[in-house]
Subunit: 525 residues, 2 copies
């Protein structure tokens, strides 16, 4: 297997020299219909990835296929899930796909079968959740727990939180919301104070999540929660479980009711399907629902093994994104789910993408001579239409768009106004936006003129079910992974977060001079 910089590849030169595609011309007029029909890739869970509104054509897709082959995307993915040390900087395997299925050969590490290890932890979490739901594990007064509170930050917060919010309403109407979940993440004391003041502490179960067991924010917030429990006359050790690595100070600790384990082969931002998300989501929705999310993700992982990019949505999405970044010069991607339930999904993708591929060195620590990961942001539609879409339509920069839409709502409670339901209005809006962005509109009044040529893709599903959610999550994980392979970066470390931590410690220790001392004064530390 060859790990080469993107700019050294033959396909890089071909892409640089290839003619640009005018998406406005391609999608406008009657040919547009054929294009929409043809430029679709089936995904797992009955979803579909549509790229008709991207600035690509068959010739360009052929070069992207050459790139996929030349960069050995499939081989690298295979090596990853078969247990090669893909996270070279930290000398770690990258096994998050194994949390939800067995893709390739058995991976044995640290003397154990890793798929079995992850499955066993989830099975323990499931059994624990069932006992909580049945009232077999109760608080110090023999009463059932009603609320689960996740205490974690970054990957221990954003993914699990996004998934919880994605299915909270769905679980209510499907009668499978077992416990309400809350989240505490920020070291800002107002975060913990606000959450703790809004819950029934006596019936709250805290899930403390830190792989290392040393995360500043999480340990601080743990103390916050313990203090609140003690002040309420409760015993913290009856109200807490830990999700951590087997070697952390939180493991096998009498301070907790139980501990569930992860390991170094699951990066924080890729950990939503491990015990990091598995404990809180099994508690909230029940183990069966969490298993359905995992199944949707596992199916997406399988679909991503396809070599033909016209049949592999994650890989095609990745390659089009690379093309837009490196040859069309677009530095930002907006993620726009037309689903209120996905309100925090863009915040998860923001971490997933920007922390994975926001790098300036390749996997060997050498500077790269091309752009890597873009800025990711987004809000749900139609809300965004009444906010930042103005710039997306008529601003001076082009921002590629990643839409997500579902034919049915989650709660299927709706109203008919002017002959259409709210759900139909929602879907009509996303269809309209795709065409508006790509095709624009001529107008002699330049103020009302839309240049068009603003590319987008859309992932369409029938309904945001647990399976669809798992597929969506894994799609983006795999997209980011493939892009990292093309850019030849290590998508699984995050050295860029270290310097701030070191300097913050110096501030707290009073070990500052120059600007740092003066900023500390300004903030009265």
């Amino acid at each position: 297997m060859k790990w080469e910089n993107f700019s050294k590849l033959e396909s890089y030169k071909k892409l640089a020299g290839a003619g640009r595609v005018d998406v406005k011309a391609e999608l406008s007029g009657e040919n547009g219909a054929e294009r929409v029909k043809n430029y679709q890739v089936p995904m797992a869970s009955g979803m579909v990835y549509s790229y008709a509104a991207k600035a690509v054509d068959d010739g360009l897709i052929d070069i992207l296929q050459e790139l996929a082959d030349e960069a050995q995307l499939q081989e690298k993915y295979e090596a990853l899930y078969n247990g090669e040390v893909i996270n070279t900087g930290e000398k770690r395997l990258v096994l998050h796909q194994l949390t939800r299925g067995q893709l390739g050969q058995d991976v044995i590490a640290d003397g154990e079968n890793k798929r079995e290890f992850y499955a066993e932890q989830q099975s323990r979490a499931d059994a624990f959740a069932r006992k909580i739901h049945k009232g077999e594990i109760v608080n110090e007064n023999g009463e059932k727990f009603t609320t689960a509170v996740q205490v974690g930050i970054g990957g221990s917060d954003l993914g699990p939180r996004a998934l919880y919010l994605s299915l909270e309403s769905w679980a209510k109407v499907n009668d499978t919301l077992k416990m309400e979940a809350k989240f505490i993440s920020n070291v800002d004391p107002d975060d913990a104070s606000a959450v703790l003041s809004g819950i029934d502490l006596a019936h709250a179960l805290f899930v403390l999540v830190s792989k290392s067991g040393t995360t500043l924010e999480t340990l601080t917030n743990e103390t916050f929660c313990k203090d609140a429990l003690k002040k309420a006359g409760l015993d913290p050790s009856c109200h807490m479980v830990a999700v951590t690595s087997a070697t952390s100070p939180l493991a096998n600790n009498p301070d907790y009711l139980d501990s569930f384990y992860i390991d170094d082969y699951i990066g924080g931002r890729y950990s939503a399907m491990s015990a990091v998300g598995g404990v809180i989501l099994a508690l909230a929705f029940g183990p069966e629902v969490f298993a359905r999310i995992q199944a949707g993700a596992a199916d997406a992982d399988k679909a991503a093994t396809e070599k033909d990019i016209r049949k592999n949505a994650a890989m095609l999405d990745a390659l089009i994104g690379v093309y837009e970044r490196n040859f069309l010069g677009y530095g930002v991607t907006a993620v726009l789910p037309y689903s209120q339930a996905l309100s925090r999904f863009p915040a998860h993708l923001q971490q997933l993408d920007m922390e994975s591929n926001g790098k300036s060195v390749n996997r060997f620590g050498e500077p790269v001579d091309y752009k890597t990961g873009p800025v990711i942001f987004g809000e749900p539609g139609t809300n965004g239409q009444h906010s930042f879409y103005q710039l997306l339509h008529q601003g001076t920069d082009i921002v590629p768009l990643q839409f997500v839409g579902f034919r049915k709502s989650q709660m299927e409670n709706d109203v008919l106004i002017e002959d259409s339901t709210s759900q139909q209005k929602l879907c009509a809006n996303v269809a309209a936006q795709i065409v508006a962005f790509a095709c624009g509109k001529d107008d002699d009044n330049r103020n009302k003129y839309f240049a068009g040529g603003r590319p987008s893709s859309i992932i369409v599903g029938d309904q945001l079910t647990p399976e669809a959610l798992g597929t969506l999550l894994a799609h983006f994980e795999n997209k980011v992974m493939f892009q990292g392979f093309v850019w030849n970066v290590n998508s699984f470390d995050q050295e860029g977060v270290q310097l701030g931590k070191v300097l913050a410690k110096r501030v707290l220790a009073g070990d500052t001079d120059g600007a740092l001392a003066e900023y500390s004064k300004l903030l009265d530390i």
Copy 2:
């Protein structure tokens, strides 16, 4: 007064030719402390704008001052608040500053004194809120209302929601949370369903906000709320008030308990201090707290009249932003409040900034030959540190950062761990990040190398009080306004949102062909 394109100005050429400033060199070492002390501007409400970590020096600030003078920023602001037709495309005055104070001369329009009109509407809203709080206006069963639900989208949602969340915890500990507030915005039926299923309908008061009275999402959600009330055996007309223009179908309508008015001179994204935010916030926090937010904003408006940019935080912030956008080539700005209460403030600024200045034509409808408004995104710190900061520190693009921090927490409930409180840790982190971004760190291991040179500013306040919040809101409104003046765009219209609306109507009417028809099929409309 002269409205000229930025690129025609003498100061534009000077900025293009001026030497670039190495912020890493300037801020590193012992000189850094002096720089932090000197590069500060006092703001209203005792806050301060610090720009020591921006890539500017005294010489460059002098040219930015020339730009401010040449572009007549002060004169244009004065013309705006004195009632000139600044929103030329829509032929409207721009009077949002008048909602919170009288800055210049009386503005008479539509036969009335506009300051008096806005003040009267707020005074009516205040009286209404007091009656609700005292139980003088009650539901059909003679019971007090306990929850206020804002139904609105875009500017009728993001600003009021951000402000409510900013002060919810503060109001709780200061014993002035009169009613809990909820928000319904998205046309996605799951949004209204989720909110309505989570509240006590019998004691809920709905605030329906639409200036035109014709906003698709808001009217749809109104029906949703009415249906839910009727199903619960309640009378919708006893549970709703409207905030709208005097000529809208919602005005003086027996369907509502009362109506409060705005007019065409308050753009949606600038409307948080009008009745759009004033009704819901007076209900939630009481009229006195809302008056304090307004006072903080009015003080910031006054501070923005200063001609010397070294004493005018909003103007200096605007000019540095323009310099970064047009001469350093940065296309994105991240807003990073180190305050969990400001969790949705970046979403408000995203609309404010991107909808105002995301334009490609000048105020006369002629294409401009320079970049205008950047993409804005952000999340609270320290959360972001564990998410997308990797890219900000080590990515291939530089993203200017706008930090906000407070010396004290809102709830002042804290824990001491390793000799520091959570609040101290929060403040230490933001101080550390500023220096880490600007100064970087050398390392032979390129993976652990930080290039630095990543510019930021910080707004520091003592505590996030109502006054501080008002100041913060107005600071950004005025910053965006000044940038619009420099770019010579109309920051007060939003023609870019129209095309999507038109096409969505065609989809719902079945009037589609080509790509639009096929996307409609894909989404099963």
